[in-house]
């Protein structure tokens, strides 16, 4: 029964992990950079959910929707602020890495000042509480509720990207920003918007991270960033669908490790990212791409 528990639990958590990492891949698609503040945006999403529940008794399910427009705007403005300056530099990739690293420190410091060091958590009865039963095993409510919220969110994201006119422009800009400009697309505005979408997805994941990680604290960001990075590298940079599959596979690996070799389970993301980068740098679903 342990095996089934690990697989089903892994899939439920994996859907959450897909949501957790897809935003990082989206930001990569928009700007060709690794957003080292990704985990911190997730952390902010968590604090938003906590604040909204504590002060206004707003259900985390509603909070997931509330954070979207706010973070899209924040991401968009941030992109418009930094993109022109980075574009002028000689090594934009490295500089943006350092920039987002600095931003991550700023967010972490401000969160500590505002929310304090202590970990904040939300009562489980803030979401529908009955555990989910399958094959005689029961799974915590937050696992399946977060999966149930993540699925429509991811579906909407995919519809936006693959079925809407703006999504088409996004893909055109990602494919070739020069070609997109001569097709009359305002490439800067489009990539800024997509950048904001990446932030929004991160914030949504953050709302549910409060439950899955057992709380939210100002210092959780970097570890989440590394986990998300492991997943997007595994599933191929720039390919959001790859991230979804990779997230689920990661969830299963992680649960299997939790069940059978619990003391080693923390090694999973690190081993995954190193093994992927060294043996198949283009990821599971990637075509040959210059990474090294």
């Amino acid at each position: 029964m342990l095996f089934e528990y690990a697989i089903v639990g892994g899939i439920l958590l994996g859907i959450f992990y897909a949501l957790l990492s897809v935003g990082l891949n989206v930001v990569f698609g928009a700007q060709k950079i690794i957003n080292l503040a990704h985990g911190d945006v997730i952390m902010l999403g968590g604090y938003a959910a906590w604040e909204l529940y504590q002060t206004y008794k707003i259900s985390p399910i509603i909070s997931t929707i509330i954070v979207v427009p706010i973070t899209v705007v924040i991401g968009y403005l941030l992109n418009r602020l930094i993109a022109p300056r980075l574009g002028k530099s000689s090594d934009p990739e490295m500089l943006s890495l350092i920039l987002f690293f600095g931003l991550s420190q700023v967010i972490e410091a401000l969160s500590t000042l505002v929310f304090g060091n202590a970990e904040r958590s939300l009562p489980i009865n803030s979401i529908p509480t009955s555990p989910f039963k399958l094959f005689g095993e029961s799974y915590p409510a937050d696992w399946w509720v977060s999966a149930l919220v993540a699925i429509p969110l991811l579906a909407i994201f995919l519809l936006f990207l693959y079925r809407s006119s703006v999504g088409l422009q996004v893909r055109a800009v990602i494919s070739d920003s020069v070609e997109a400009a001569v097709a009359g697309i305002n490439a800067r505005r489009i990539s800024g918007l997509y950048f904001g979408v990446g932030f929004a997805l991160a914030a949504c994941a953050g709302v549910w991270g409060v439950f899955i990680f057992g709380g939210v604290s100002p210092t959780e960001g970097p570890a989440i960033t590394v986990t998300a990075f492991a997943i997007i590298v595994f599933g191929s940079l720039g390919n959001p669908i790859g991230t979804l599959v990779a997230g689920i596979i990661f969830g299963i690996f992680y649960q299997l490790a939790q069940v059978y070799v619990p003391s080693w389970s923390n090694l999973v993301p690190y081993a995954l990212v190193i093994a992927t980068m060294l043996t198949r740098p283009q990821g599971l679903f990637g075509r040959r791409q210059r990474v090294a």
């Binding site: 490295m94 420190q105 972490e108 410091a109 500590t112 590394v226 492991a230 990212v273 190193i274 060294l278």
Partner: protein, 328 residues
């Protein structure tokens, strides 16, 4: 095009003695400074830590300043050094100073093992080293390995504690790291590293063995971190794995180096001394204020001095140099 046959101020006009004097000053000033500081400020442990950070910032300088590879996982070598030297003392009763050198070798050995990460570029390398160091931490701190590493309970080196010795070693390490940077900067080795940083393929067509040169820089950098970790463990005497495998160690070392200016000899020393002092003034009691300050410093540096990041020192030097050229 400017007529500039007479402007020979940039390089290769300095005499041999001159090229030796400036690194000597860059080494002696901080060494003497640390030696005297203990008479003014009596918190020896704190000064030891400051010296360790100077060495770490110089280690980052060798790696990032001269090859362009940013090691987010630099703390991994630090932790390995602390453990290798600590276990060498505990298990083989090695004298601490010898153990420090062994710790440096341990750092370099791990550096050699991790050298395949050089196949990765830019951000991939930075995060790859971070993941590798986190993996090493997870292994060292693992309860299953308690018989070897004492798992999550860390090491107790209290029996080897010796006031003054650890501080002296830290000062020696500062000297070693600055001499290493001066050597790299002034030598053919450094010249080829800079060429590689600008354009690896072009460098190889100039006959440079690109992977080997990078590898050497990486080993020097890893050995410095290994020794720094060894001295940290020795001076701290009781430590847990999360104290020596702490990603904020890399963070601070990188910030100090960037703030002072990578690629220069003085920059990281000044950056580490200044910012670590600030850290002690406000950072111990209010770490979040300190974090906020250096986070903002990084963001502002990237946004408003995108070509530089070489810090204020180089920025001013360049300005002065330009002025001189236009005045001629």
């Amino acid at each position: 095009m400017p007529k500039t046959a007479e402007i020979k101020t940039l390089q290769n006009t300095g005499s041999k003695t001159k090229t030796l004097i400036s690194p000597a000053i860059a080494t002696l000033v901080p060494v003497i400074g640390f030696a005297l500081a203990i008479h003014v400020y009596s918190n020896e442990l704190l000064l030891t830590y400051m010296a360790i950070y100077v060495a770490l910032a110089q280690g980052v300088n060798i790696m990032y300043g001269f090859t362009g590879y940013l090691p987010f996982g630099y703390f991994g070598f630090f932790g390995v050094g602390a453990y290798v030297s600590g276990l060498a003392m505990l298990n083989y009763n090695l004298p601490p100073v010898v153990a420090v050198i062994v710790g440096g070798l341990g750092g370099a050995l791990v550096g050699a093992i991790l050298s395949p990460l050089f196949r990765l570029r830019g951000a991939y390398f930075a995060i790859g080293t971070l993941a590798a160091s986190e993996a090493i931490y997870t292994i060292v701190a693992n309860p299953s390995l308690q018989s070897i590493t004492n798992g999550p309970y860390g090491l107790n080196l209290a029996n080897y504690y010796s006031s003054g010795m650890a501080y002296g070693s830290a000062i020696a390490l500062v000297a070693i790291s600055i001499i290493a940077v001066s050597y790299v900067r002034g030598s053919r080795f450094g010249l080829t590293l800079k060429a590689i940083r600008d354009d690896p393929y072009s460098a190889s067509m100039a006959g440079v063995n690109v992977p080997r040169q990078r590898f050497y820089a990486w080993l020097i950098s890893a050995a410095i971190a290994g020794m720094a970790g060894s001295i940290f463990g020795w001076a701290t005497s009781v430590f847990y794995p999360q104290a020596v495998f702490d990603s904020s160690l890399s963070v601070l070392a990188i910030v100090f180096a960037l703030f002072g200016g990578v690629g220069s000899v003085w920059g990281p020393t000044i950056g580490a001394v200044l910012l670590y002092s600030v850290y002690n003034a406000i950072g111990i009691s209010n770490p979040e204020y300190f974090q906020l300050i250096y986070g903002l410093v990084i963001v502002l540096l990237v946004l408003f001095a995108p070509r530089g990041l070489l810090g204020f020192w180089n920025f001013f030097a360049q300005k002065i140099r330009r002025k001189r050229v236009t005045n001629d």
